[in-house]
Symmetry: C2
Subunit: 204 residues, 2 copies
């Protein structure tokens, strides 16, 4: 399904223009808040005319969707690269890697990743984005937590998505690089996962 009937950038300069638009939109969304940003702002900030913007995007929502795709793809790629898990990998190490990736991506621009993840809630497109992350997590869990039922895995994956998203988004974004906060998020994730993976969880 094509994002819209708009023109697809073919030449290098238009691809760069689209890139500038996305970058500016990201900075503005994260900085001013989605409702306060207009397509005119984005165009101006990107040093591009509105007309050009509308050649490639149908509107603000489509820009948001494109950003979500771009960043979740980036997030997924980073995770794939770092999480070469075998059955023997230490959980704590895995959690650290995940937190590293999140923190790094959420830094430039600050808070954007968190905003994007939060803003998936409710929209059709957002559901797809979350589903992709969810799938990846279930794959990960399959390697680690074979004692869990399929249904349990789904719930656990949801939990993980929302713990990390939620924490790194709703307010903790600012403190994500604060070691104390970081340590607590780590403790929370491990506190949740450890009993489950070591089998000491009576719910299993």
């Amino acid at each position: 399904m094509p994002p819209s009937q708009r023109r697809q950038p073919k030449q290098a300069r238009s691809r760069e223009l689209v890139e500038r638009i996305l970058t500016s939109a990201g900075e503005l969304f994260a900085g001013q808040g989605y409702p306060n940003v207009t397509t005119n702002h984005i165009a101006e900030h990107a040093d591009v005319s509105v007309g050009s913007l509308y050649q490639f995007f149908a509107g603000k929502e489509e820009i948001l969707a494109a950003l979500q795709d771009k960043w979740t793809a980036r997030l997924g790629a980073e995770l794939d690269e770092r999480l070469r898990v075998g059955p023997g990998t230490d959980i704590a190490e895995t959690v650290d890697q995940v937190l590293d990736v999140h923190a790094a991506l959420n830094r430039q621009p600050p808070g954007l990743l968190g905003f994007l993840l939060i803003s998936t809630a409710g929209t059709d497109h957002g559901n797809g984005v979350v589903a992709a992350i969810h799938r990846r997590l279930v794959d990960l869990l399959t390697l680690r937590a074979r004692s869990l039922s399929r249904q349990q895995m789904d719930v656990v994956a949801s939990m993980l998505v929302h713990i990390t998203n939620g924490l790194y988004s709703v307010g903790l974004a600012a403190g994500a690089n604060d070691p104390a906060v970081r340590a607590e998020v780590r403790a929370a994730l491990l506190g949740y996962l450890t009993p489950m993976l070591t089998g000491s969880d009576e719910r299993i």
Copy 2:
């Protein structure tokens, strides 16, 4: 600091009108999403004229702020009432109570509490609202976790606010009454809190 220079409702009918406006706004915000709701929608849905609405509220943002105040006050009152904790109270019980209160408030209208809590992020007013909840939690922790330093308590309180807010808001709101989801949220909170309160946490 007065919310605005608007008129304060003095008579019973105007207080009821303000009430209707807030109720309608809550339903619409939770149902249609904040950006899609206009003051005209709210007035119409509340069966009130826009003019009347603007006599008591300066605009949409102020209505949101009023809703945040009202619901966090309600949340705080419910928690105070149910969480008569002494040093001997069971943690699991406390967590259950907190989840009960959240779930109940988030039910009518569905998702409103979650939306309100999320939407505090970033705004000045929202910071105040979160600070109030935060303060209450630190009080609670003071009774339970005396071994924590003041700074640690702050971080832990932040974590708790964001775990509950985040989880019950970003996507889990829909499933908040699903027993499986509920059980996982419970497990996550206990997994985080138990080591800390029993002193088996090596970070303390």
